[in-house]
């Protein structure tokens, strides 16, 4: 997919359709054309992308990183001028992201040959989820040859556009549709499922076998963490004596406990990637407390070998169980 910039001979910026694409793409989508760039997205994840990603990473690293590397290589084939790989350090004061995000540009530059001069990277250190603060982008004036005020204006608009996207998410529009520029409300259903997972696990259809649609087909109404207000999450985090070190894990923890304590939620599914470190710490907290509160809880682990029938069987069984549960309670 190619999105037109101001003219023909503009710099082509590749954005991997992976990791935080599912959270920040609307921001980048608004920003880069204003800097005179054409955005080139990598293809949606497919077998080829996964295979090259798996081949060029160490076996032990988590699937999302493998997929990301696949997307970066896909962009390289497409002949872009730059591939945008920001170093997202922090989006809350005193809390960082997973170390793999912190070292992502290093990993890409130093493990893939012939790429280091194509990587466009800069550090993002923000106190809030809104990453439009100018101080993180000061290098951009030189790279894109624009004035400070132009850049500031572009960032402001991009920030606003991103907030609009977030508002729509909170109103219950499907994220996967919003990213493609379409508006569609989440399906309604007789069961309320709290789906916990990072954006790149929940919305990565190819790896998770289209989990959300499956759940919706089975008559479930799916709630995700990005449908909640930032204040709710901040409030929860400020009450923790020791918050988790990784912001998205904090978000999942806050929303996870909200699900556990909410009578409206019938069951919780935690979707996590093989080898995910932060989730290995988060998991037991939620598991233990869900059990104590008698809230059905299932952990779904996905990786490059996830089989469709295996996943389906497990979701079906879980949904059936919730229905039986609900019927019994109604009696």
């Amino acid at each position: 997919m190619v999105i037109e910039g101001k003219g023909m001979n503009y710099m082509k910026i590749g954005i991997p359709r992976s990791l935080l694409y599912y959270y920040y793409y609307p921001f980048w989508q608004s920003l880069f054309p204003k800097l005179g760039c054409q955005i080139v997205l990598s293809d949606t994840t497919n077998t080829d992308i996964l295979d090259i990603g798996v081949k060029d990473t160490i076996s032990e690293i988590c699937v999302p990183i493998k997929v990301y590397v696949g997307h970066v290589l896909n962009l390289l084939e497409k002949g872009v001028d730059y591939i945008y790989i920001p170093r997202l350090v922090s989006i809350r004061k005193g809390v960082t992201l997973c170390p793999k995000f912190l070292g992502l540009p290093d990993l890409i530059k130093n493990s893939l040959p012939g790429i280091s001069d194509k990587v466009l990277t800069h550090k993002i250190n923000s106190n809030t989820d809104d990453i439009s603060d100018y101080k993180n982008y000061s290098d951009f004036t030189k790279i894109f040859d624009i004035s400070k005020s132009e850049l500031k204006a572009a960032l402001r608009t991009a920030g606003k556009d991103w907030l609009k996207f977030r508002d729509l998410q909170k109103k219950g529009y499907k994220t996967e549709m919003l990213l493609e520029g379409k508006k569609e409300m989440r399906e309604d259903g007789d069961l309320n499922i709290g789906l916990l997972g990072y954006v790149y696990n929940m919305y990565e259809k190819f790896i998770n076998m289209d989990l959300i649609s499956r759940l919706e087909e089975m008559g479930a109404r799916v709630s995700t963490f990005d449908m909640f207000e930032e204040e709710m999450i901040s409030d929860f985090v400020s009450r923790l004596r020791k918050p988790m070190f990784w912001e998205f894990t904090n978000k999942l923890m806050a929303v996870g406990y909200h699900f556990i304590n909410s009578p409206a939620i019938d069951g919780i599914i935690h979707v996590t990637a093989f080898g995910c470190g932060p989730d290995s710490i988060l998991g037991p907290f939620l598991e233990i407390d869900a059990e104590q509160n008698k809230k059905p809880f299932m952990t779904l682990r996905i990786d490059e070998q996830t089989g469709e029938s295996h996943l389906l069987t497990r979701i079906e069984a879980f949904i059936d169980l919730l229905r039986i549960h609900k019927r019994r309670e109604a009696l």
Binding site: R87, T96, F245
Partner: protein, 367 residues
């Protein structure tokens, strides 16, 4: 208060500190296969290996009436900083309610930090506490000094098992120390004992020096890394690791001693720009540093699934090519077998020997 603590490196340092403060301590067992199995059973599958070992260590001691565990904390992004919280959660879900004294960075919460110090301080006066801390610090410096000598000479000493036994005896001597004066005496004695071993240092260019870098727990704890230093020594190579306890104390508690660390960080700059947690950046820096100091190879150790070290492992190929330095990366977990480690180290050192020999040959031909 009956206290225990994690088993890592020279455990007797922490034991000494708590003992001198007048606490009743229970020494943790050295991790065995049984410890690890127990830990694996009650830990999340993808928790990093040190977490599982500590889980097992704690569980093994649950019948000894322990009510408090003292451990270190941190604020990420490495998972180790959250171990205390999660261990507590899992232990309490198993029905063991224990107190955890977790030392986080003081600057995040001074009040709590001093409350914890206060609890550990017992009835000792501050003057006494200062003296005890100084003694223990000196002790850790001294132990590390002797250990460095042992692990470089062991390569050339024929009776290695006697040397290892002597080294363990020396550690026992250290555990009896009560004052700073005794540290010097024990050290002098230890040197005397070690100097009794005859050894022939080969010519400068014949010496093989291997650096061990990686995640601190698997680098420092021999029972977890299959005694990697002894294995390397047994194939005739000297070894130095990137982490020693006294050095860790210098880095984390004594800001004015930070020059060496700064130097290491600077050397890592080309490979990892910012601190991404754990010791990943230091690992990179140490590899460059070993090259600068003329080492012949590096062994990189990390626990399976370690977040920061996975980034550094991804970069190893590049750094190895750039520096023309062989690097062997080993992932340590509950399935690591001694024979596997030995085979790989042997092959690695053979390779280095071969490379050295062919380099020398080439030089002779050129002359």
């Amino acid at each position: 208060m009956k206290i225990t603590f994690p088993f890592m490196g020279p455990t007797l340092i922490y034991a000494k500190l708590l003992e001198l403060l007048g606490h009743e301590i229970v020494m943790p067992n050295k991790p065995t296969k049984k410890t690890i199995d127990l830990g694996v059973k009650y830990s999340p599958e993808f928790a990093c290996f040190p977490f599982k070992v500590l889980m097992g260590t704690y569980l093994e001691m649950m019948d000894k009436g322990i009510d408090t565990i003292v451990t270190s904390g941190g604020h990420g992004p490495c998972r180790a900083g959250y171990y205390g919280e999660l261990h507590k959660k899992i232990l309490s879900s198993l029905g063991y309610d224990l107190d955890f004294i977790v030392f986080d960075e003081p600057k995040r919460d001074y009040k709590r930090f001093f409350q914890q110090i206060y609890r550990l301080k017992n009835d000792s006066s501050w003057y006494r506490v200062a003296r005890i801390v100084y003694t223990v610090y000196k002790m850790s410096k001294s132990i590390d000094k002797i250990e460095k000598i042992v692990s470089s000479r062991r390569a050339y000493i024929s009776n290695k098992s006697l040397l290892n036994r002597t080294w363990r005896d020396i550690l026992k001597d250290y555990s009896r120390i009560k004052t700073v004066k005794e540290v010097n005496e024990v050290e002098k004695n230890a040197l005397k004992k070690i100097n009794r071993f005859k050894y022939q240092l080969p010519e400068e260019e014949e010496r093989i020096r291997i650096g061990v870098v990686g995640e601190i727990y698997v680098v420092m704890e021999p029972s977890v890394n299959n005694n990697i230093e002894e294995i390397i020594n047994s194939f005739g190579a000297e070894v130095e690791r990137s982490q020693y306890l006294s050095q860790y104390i210098d880095e984390t508690l004594l800001p004015f001693k930070g020059n060496e660390v700064k130097e290491i960080f600077k050397k890592a700059e080309d490979y990892i720009e910012i601190i991404i947690g754990g010791h990943a950046k230091q690992s990179m820096g140490h590899i460059v540093d070993y090259k600068d100091r003329g080492f012949d190879g590096v062994v990189h150790l990390k626990p399976f699934g370690c977040l920061p070290e996975l980034i550094s492992q991804s970069i190893l190929d590049k750094i190895s090519t750039d520096l023309d330095m062989p690097i062997l990366s080993l992932s340590i977990d509950e399935q690591t077998a001694q024979a596997n480690v030995m085979t790989r180290i042997e092959a690695f050192i053979d390779f280095i020997k071969y490379q050295k020999a062919s380099k020398k040959e080439r030089m002779v031909v050129n002359e």
